[in-house]
Every structure is written in structure tokens, then in C-alpha cells.
Symmetry: C2
Subunit: 250 residues, 2 copies
């Protein structure tokens, strides 16, 4: 870490957030901790913090270049970034291009089904409740956002999914699904927050046919397939081949 940070304001499963002298900005440290199944499964994976921080920086800059606002400001080191302080909306937005994971446990939709249009699922971010799926009516009942904001959120999430899917496709990567967290800044604008990485996206290698070997994301950890860091590294390598190094924060 290259700069002094303020007090720890939040520690999550994969990141620590610190205050900064600059009001309205925070410093984000990406940890090597790996968790799955609502933190019932835990481990530490060397290099994961660096990989997820770098990949997030690349993906946030990609989104920016497409006119999509994110909380990202710039890197400080390979596993630290500066981000705009946002009011996080306590909802996980999941976009699914291919059916797998919980969708296939919770519906009769078959593993590998192409979802056109991509399926959007909203989950209430609450570890104690196990991040439950929200219907539109439950979302309304919880009074978490207006219906206009919901429409805006859905439109934004779908654009992020389109931009990332298209980019990955060119790298022979398939974006299977994607979890986004969104927040609002002081001006009330909706921004993509949190991280975008193989912890939050399912990514399959289109150069590999074997359904286990092609997995380049956190499912390697969930399913004990090994080679977690190596897979994330493979994604980073392909991204780096076509992108310029993310900017340094100053």
C-alpha cells in the first residue's frame, strides 16, 4: 500500500474499506480471503486480492469508456484502489446469461440453458437472512427504492452485462452470470460499486470443452476444483492482452 489511509469504516468478506482525507472518497483493500455459501466455507487464496483488484480496475475502466458510471477512481497498488464513497443499495443484482448455480437448484431450468433475454434476479443483501431472492412485490414492501429507481437499476445492470459479455466474448471468455452491487453518490446518481471479478462473475473459457476445466471463477473454490488463483490469472492475462494498464490514483 502506497498511501496512508484513514480509519477502517467497514470490513466485508473480501474487502476492507477505509476513510480518506478527501471526503467522499474511500480506500478499498482487496483481501485474499475466499468465502462461499454465505461464509460457511472459508479459505485464503494467495494472490486473490491482487487479481480481483486489478480485474475490477480493468472492468470499471471498460464500463467508464462505455459511459457507465462506477465508483472507481484509480489504483493505489495492485490490491488497493480508491473509490467514490457511495450509499450502497442493499440489493444484489444478478444477471444470468446461462442457467447454472442457484437458479438450477430453485427452478426446473436445466443447467446450461441460454437465457434470452438475460434473467435478472434481485436478492436482499442480508447475511443473517441468507441473501433472499426478492419478488417485485417484496421489493416494494421493503420500500428499498422507488419503481423509477428500480427501472433505472435494471437498465444499468443490463447494459453492464452487455458491455462485459461482449468484451469477454472477444477474449474467448463466456460471461455466464454476473452479480452487481450498486450505490448512489451524493448527487443521487446510480453507480456500479463493489467489485467486478471472478468472485462476482461466472466466466467460462470458450477454448476448453470440459465443463469442469473451463470454469475460471469462484465455482472452482465452491466446488473444490483447485487452481483458483491460476484461473483468475488466466482471465487477467487475456484482459491485459487487449487493455492498457489501469490508471494510478493521484
Amino acid at each position: 500500500m502506497a498511501q496512508n489511509h484513514g480509519p477502517l469504516v467497514y470490513e466485508g468478506k473480501a474487502k476492507r474499506i477505509y476513510g480518506m482525507n478527501e471526503p467522499g472518497e474511500v480506500m478499498v483493500e482487496f483481501k485474499n480471503d475466499a468465502t462461499a455459501f454465505n461464509a460457511k466455507k472459508k479459505s485464503e487464496i494467495d494472490g486473490k486480492g491482487r487479481l480481483n483488484c486489478l480485474l475490477s480496475a480493468y472492468f470499471f475502466e471498460l464500463l467508464e469508456s462505455e459511459g457507465i458510471q462506477t465508483h472507481y477512481r484509480g489504483l493505489i497498488s495492485d490490491n488497493w484502489m480508491v473509490a467514490q464513497h457511495v450509499e450502497v443499495i442493499p440489493i444484489e443484482v444478478v444477471l444470468r446469461n446461462i442457467a447454472t448455480g442457484s437458479l438450477c437448484r430453485e427452478t426446473p431450468v436445466k443447467q446450461g440453458t441460454k437465457l434470452k433475454p438475460p434473467l435478472l434476479d434481485l436478492y436482499f443483501k442480508d447475511d443473517a437472512l441468507g441473501d433472499p431472492l426478492l419478488t417485485e412485490s417484496r421489493l416494494e414492501l421493503l420500500d428499498l427504492m422507488s419503481s423509477d429507481r428500480r427501472a433505472e437499476l435494471e437498465k444499468l445492470a443490463r447494459r453492464v452485462n452487455d458491455v462485459l459479455s461482449h468484451f469477454m466474448q472477444k477474449l474467448d471468455l463466456l460471461l455466464v452470470d454476473l452479480k452487481l452491487e450498486l450505490g448512489t453518490n451524493q448527487e443521487g446518481q446510480l453507480l456500479v460499486a463493489d467489485e467486478i471479478s471472478p468472485d462476482t462473475c461466472r466466466i467460462w473459457d470458450l477454448r476448453i470443452d470440459d465443463p469442469r476445466d473451463r470454469i475460471l471463477d469462484k465455482d472452482r473454490f465452491r466446488q473444490d476444483l483447485g487452481g483458483v488463483a491460476e484461473s483468475y490469472e488466466e482471465v487477467l492475462k487475456r484482459v491485459q492482452e487487449v487493455s492498457s494498464r489501469p490508471r494510478h490514483y493521484n
Copy 2:
């Protein structure tokens, strides 16, 4: 049982369905079996089949009198009825007037919160999947019904809830929530099917303040409160005081 029935066509957790000579009609036998938590908890409760059959008959006739179509044709005995054969829609429609049960486990909504308008939840009827909650998008993905049919179903379910709530209110009973199953007959009309009973409705006694003692429904079984049949009997008693005996099928 007063009449010969045809072959068993379906056995569920609480009922057996038999064919009849009359095509388009079935005979429904209400069993004393009690199950909860997706049949992880099982027991037998003397008299439950009779109570649920009679109460369903009363409630179906009440709905009919309000112009709502149901599959019910008439009683054969206290625990057997004849019903129209319907194509069951594999969805459980839950209307909630007061927050309790799974809603309070799956959201931060507090126990006892009045839900205005009543909250409508749709669950996919599938024991192996644990009857998962359906969002509108997942419902669309599963292609179980058109959006027109969905709107019709919602309107019908809300009317059933209104009619039953209003009726129960007059008996000093509070309809807390209600699970409906719907089906279509050969003409494609949407009908209320299955049963309407303290197995499928949560009902609280408005004459009693104690939050455990006032429960007159399957929660007595779920929560091991005892007096299951006595509670169902109390509901039946109040219904009988204001209703004429359900018709006999012939």
C-alpha cells in the same frame, strides 16, 4: 364413503383423488395425515380429513355465492367430495394479510405487520425443489402461463382473499394468509381448486389475545402447540353457525 369410486389417480399429502364414471369429475378423499415443512414433519390427526373436507365445502360454496368459480361439486360424506376435474396449475398462490411464517424468515418485515395491499407470493409447486418462490421473470422463464393468465390469476386470488377475509371477520376470525391452488377446466376457465381449510389458511381467533392460543390453523401442528383438531373444530363451529349445510352431490 357412500358411492363407488374409480381408480386412484393421484395421492397427495392430504388427499386422494379417484376417477369417476362421470368423465370430467373426480372424487376427493380428505385424509387425516398431517405434514409440514415439505413433509419432513408427519403425523396423523383424528378428524382432520372430515374437518378440512367440510370447511372446504363451506368455503367453496361461499365463493360460489360470490360468483367465483371453484372445482367443487358437492359432498358425498363428511370427508369425501366430488370435484370437477381440472388441469392444476403447478403454482401455489399465497395471499398475505399479516406478515408471519416464511415471509418473516426471508425478509426483515416484522411479525404481525399488516400488509396493505395484501402481499401476493407465487411458489413453484415442486416438492423436490422445496416449492421455491417465483419472481415474475422466473415465472416467465418457466413459461407456465401467459401474462394475461397471470393477471387473471392474481385478480381471482385477491377476490378470494377479500371474500374469505370479510366472511371470517364476521365470525371474529382473522384470515392471516391463504394458499390457493388454481386449475383450468376443459373450457379453459380458471377455477379455485384443491382445498380451503386451516391446513391452507392461517386463521387467528380475534376473541383471544394470547399470540399462541389464538392460532386456529396448521401452525398448531408446525409449532407443536397441540389442540390441532380442536382448533379446526372451533373454526367449523363458527362457520356452521351462520351457514347452511353444504349440498350433497348427486
